[in-house]
Subunit: 306 residues, 2 copies
């Protein structure tokens, strides 16, 4: 029932049209592991600085997250500062301080190497590959990426994409990755490289999932107030991978229906994330809250046959 | 089984990344009536110039469209020229020649006045109101509008919105209309003005439909090649209204399920429109083709409950 998650652990300064916060806990590994912990026990692989106080470890442990693969290094924790205007789909970066993340070289514990489900959060594809190679016999491996790595580490990223089961990527990024404007053509290209499932994130418009020659489309859960979109993509991926790890734990086969359900769980989990700053709301919700929105979104897209 | 449609009849010059055409039949009344004619007999109310040859009337008549309320005036038919870049969501207008449309003053025949279903295509709200007032006892009245009228004729448009059942509007326009960024809040505002149903068009991302305190969301039918988006919104509205006019002809009540189904029919009809220039593909398809995509889109959004 474990899910290995590698990614960034950060302190963020965030400004949105609705307010401003400083030095709040963030990073892809944090959002995705809290999201996934509604379904399974996530094991975070990451690095923090000496300023990462004990209370943060406690906070993660309380949420059923294994922190024994988080390394504490001399120096400061990774820091990101950014803001959003009314178009909350676009994050404007003001400052990035890699700090201890600069020398991050993930080394998995023997327990972590045995994990069957792996989410390689958005970090250098070289590190993603390193983690991938350390895991002994994974059942499902997913990864996320971003424009920076597509530009700077295309060869390594493509090498990774050949091996993995699921790619989480946003619309602009898959266009950049494949040099195809049409998203369906883009996704087909990535599938032809070897990735088994491509999930394209379209922000407030939801997601499209491509596998074999099939497509699943799901709108986002409609919200009257999106407060802070930071972590939406990571909590989406965490929800998807958490549900898959839970559902396939007894060697069940990944069916089309389980895949579709996992995407609904991811969508619903992410909808809570964006309703408050950082992990504030995501941390508080329970599986019951998630199930409630799962039912609502089912009704939202329902229509009868003719 | 009739549907009254008022709107523009035009000759368009269109350029997309995939080609260029000159003087092709277009306009909101043309697209929406061809779309609707798969379900009912549309009656177009409009104006054309002396250059509108007999072959165009024949073409419409052949598609089960009543042209007896199209007036021929001295001068030239309305002309629009525009182009699209790779982001096919945005139409760039190069030239608009109103011509005979400048003095358009719709006068309904007695038959037209008795029609129960009305689509007021995107024209001056003053003319939309005039048509609305001429129809004796309509059952469902829908309208479309655009940024120009929101800016120039806000008072008249708001007067119309109080009276009608369905507003078709795109995302940017409803934000402009309501001065609300969030689309859900925007739609709620329009509902509070008196419009019963608000359908927000989101281009390649599909539609959101708001009624009472409920929401229906449907993605667009996924296409690998969008050739020419001209007329997508109008053929969508034509499909919705055509199905509603057909389904409610025997005094049936507009249920939530019928409304949702009509939106699926609109979506599917519009998906054919954008696959070739102008009305080329839309003109050729049959109800059987529409039904086929209805079934596909049903599968596309399907997922099982937990």
């Amino acid at each position: 029932m474990d899910l290995l998650i590698v990614g960034s652990i950060a302190f963020d300064n965030i400004k949105t049209p609705f307010g401003k916060v400083n030095k709040i806990l963030g990073g892809s590994a944090i959002y995705s592991s809290i999201a996934a912990s509604n379904f399974v026990r996530p094991i975070i692989v990451g690095v923090v600085g000496e300023d990462f106080e004990r209370k943060y470890f406690d906070l993660l442990k309380k949420h059923n997250i294994d922190v024994s693969n988080i390394k504490i290094e001399k120096g400061k924790t990774f820091h990101w500062e950014g803001y959003y205007d009314y178009d909350l789909n676009i994050a404007h970066t003001v400052d990035t301080q890699l700090n201890v993340f600069l020398k991050f070289n993930p080394q998995l514990s023997s327990e972590a190497k045995d994990v069957k489900f792996v989410f390689l959060g958005n970090i250098d594809p070289v590190l993603q590959l390193s983690v991938y190679q350390q895991v002994k016999n994974p059942k499902i491996v997913a990864c996320d990426t971003m424009n920076y790595w597509i530009e700077k580490k295309f060869v390594q990223l493509k090498k990774l994409l050949k091996k993995i089961d699921i790619l989480f990527i946003n619309e602009a990024e898959i266009r950049q990755l494949t040099k195809e404007y049409n998203v369906i053509k883009s996704a087909r290209k990535v599938l032809s490289w070897g990735t088994k499932i491509v999930i394209v994130k379209r922000g407030e418009y939801g997601v499209m999932c491509f596998y074999k020659n099939k497509i699943f489309v799901l709108p986002a859960y409609p919200l009257e107030k999106v407060f802070d979109p930071t972590g939406a993509g990571d909590s989406f991926a965490g929800g998807v991978m958490g549900f898959l790890a839970y559902k396939l734990k007894n060697n069940n086969v990944l069916t089309e229906q389980i895949l579709r359900q996992s995407i609904v769980f991811g969508t619903v989990t992410a909808s809570f994330c964006v309703e408050d700053f950082g992990i504030k709301k995501l941390y508080k919700i329970t599986y019951k809250d998630i199930l409630q929105r799962y039912r609502e979104i089912k009704h939202l897209v329902h229509f009868e046959m003719i």
